[in-house]
């Protein structure tokens, strides 16, 4: 089966039946998954940090790295597959955003990523219908283009669906 694998800070889309869109080991990173029922296209971005203002060069080179640049870039990419430019009718799912076992705010990167992503989605009039965020474990996620089924796995745990 074909596979579109996305690394940290990458985004992409597929409408090839039989293909899977996959990303490995989301720690505090978040996978934004956009499913477009109209065109049967699956888009995904593997986002590492909330805000591109800390490094504009990196954002220009890898827009998928930051929440504020990744979502517009992913929507633009999906428009190439015939999807609505502003994401109308798309189903949004989010997973990842883990945190270390910590009481201290500095290290809550997963939480800050989730907040930033939700804010940007709201600005686009979009909201997640399903999410598997937080906790203190790493997730690998794959989406079947054919069924739209989102499958998650983590070492030492049975896999589950979202």
């Amino acid at each position: 089966m074909g596979q579109l694998t996305l690394g940290v800070g990458e985004y992409g889309a597929s409408n090839i039946i039989g293909e899977e869109v996959k990303t490995y080991a989301l720690g505090s990173c978040i996978a934004v998954i956009l499913l477009d029922p109209q065109t049967r296209t699956i888009g995904m971005a593997h986002i590492a940090l909330p805000d591109s203002s800390i490094n504009k060069n990196k954002a220009a080179e890898k827009p998928g790295y930051f929440a504020d640049t990744a979502i517009p870039a992913l929507l633009e990419e999906m428009a190439r597959y015939g999807c609505h430019k502003k994401g109308k009718g798309m189903v949004v799912k989010l997973c990842g955003g883990a945190n270390v076992m910590d009481t201290n705010d500095t290290f809550q990167i997963g939480k800050r990523n989730a907040l930033a992503i939700k804010k940007i989605l709201w600005a686009h009039d979009m909201g997640a219908v399903a999410e598997d965020l937080g906790g203190n474990f790493s997730r690998t996620v794959s989406v079947s283009v054919e069924s739209g089924l989102v499958t998650l796995s983590s070492p030492g745990r049975p896999s589950w669906q979202l």
């Binding site: 080991a25 720690g27 945190n99 270390v100 474990f137 070492p155």
Partner: protein
């Protein structure tokens, strides 16, 4: 339930591990001293023909994209810097341990080395950005070595990961260390500590290996360094590079604030730097193992 190891069984496992090469050992001793300089490193590397050849191979690898080949070891070392030389020597000397498939943690071969390399880069960045008086080079080396104990006990942990995670989720264990002790009698920091003593590593590195999950228990002299590696380890795990089932299953000690100053923005910058440095370093060090 897996069989618990006795202390003498643990020591037998540790003693079955090959010693570091003399040059790697001396390099670790030398670079842990505050007042060494690069010329000392050069002189040491020159005593080891195999290491010299490796260093030249790495500096001339595609990752550095040099226009003309470097043939002098002096120039190669000053170009690469101490950290990369230490990485090459450790990889050369104990590569088998680092590349071991950590099946007991449900991790694959190479995961330990990748985690260690990311921890090393993150610890170095924490050391240099936090305003603490810690040698960034030493923090890097300590990051490379901190989890070596996992390679020693992984085989004995085989099949325990789901139970270990369940123990933590149900609050029966506070973290993966206690779960390791429940499963095999020792945790990876205790196993690593025994190896560090047999390898006669410098005290600072011994303490990092032993206390990287409980930095407050390290001696005052090395505590800031141990905290830097503690944070580096957590940053590596957060960025998706753990060693399998135990990833993020350890509490972060907020006491780091007494030794290191780090804002959320500093942390985000460190995550960015680790990502970009890691790809470059990994590519160049791969040239290390090729004949």
């Amino acid at each position: 339930m897996n069989k618990k190891l006795s202390h003498s069984e643990l020591l037998a496992i540790v003693k079955s591990v090959p010693m570091l090469t003399p040059s790697a050992n001396q390099l670790l001793q030398l670079t842990a001293q505050e007042d060494h300089d690069l010329a000392d490193v050069v002189n040491l590397v020159k005593t080891d023909a195999k290491l010299t050849a490796r260093v030249l191979k790495v500096v001339n690898s595609a990752a550095f994209g040099l226009l003309s080949n470097i043939t002098s070891i002096d120039r190669a070392i000053s170009y690469l810097g101490e950290r990369i030389i230490v990485s090459i020597a450790i990889g050369d000397s104990a590569g088998k341990l680092f590349d071991k498939e950590l099946a007991g943690y449900e991790a694959t071969g190479g995961d330990l080395w990748r985690h260690d390399l990311r921890t090393a880069i993150a610890a170095r960045e924490v050391a240099s950005q936090s305003g603490a008086d810690i040698s960034p080079d030493l923090a890097f080396t300590a990051g490379l070595l901190h989890d070596i104990g996992k390679a020693l006990i992984s085989d004995y942990l085989l099949g325990t990961a789901p139970d270990a995670i369940q123990m933590i989720r149900s609050d029966e264990s506070v973290d993966y260390l206690t779960a390791e002790v429940a499963m095999v009698g020792f945790d990876h920091t205790q196993a690593g500590y025994e190896l560090a003593k047999i390898w006669q590593l410098p005290e600072a590195l011994v303490e990092v290996i032993r206390y990287h999950h409980q930095p407050s228990q390290a001696g005052e002299a090395n505590r800031a360094l141990v905290y830097a590696v503690h944070l580096g380890d957590n940053i590596a795990m957060l960025s998706g590079f753990g060693t399998g089932a135990d990833s993020m299953q350890y509490p972060l000690d907020p006491g780091y604030g007494n030794y290191l100053s780090l804002t959320p923005i500093d942390l985000e910058n460190i995550i960015l730097t680790v990502d970009s440095e890691f790809s470059k370093l990994q590519e160049s060090l791969t040239a290390n193992g090729e004949e």
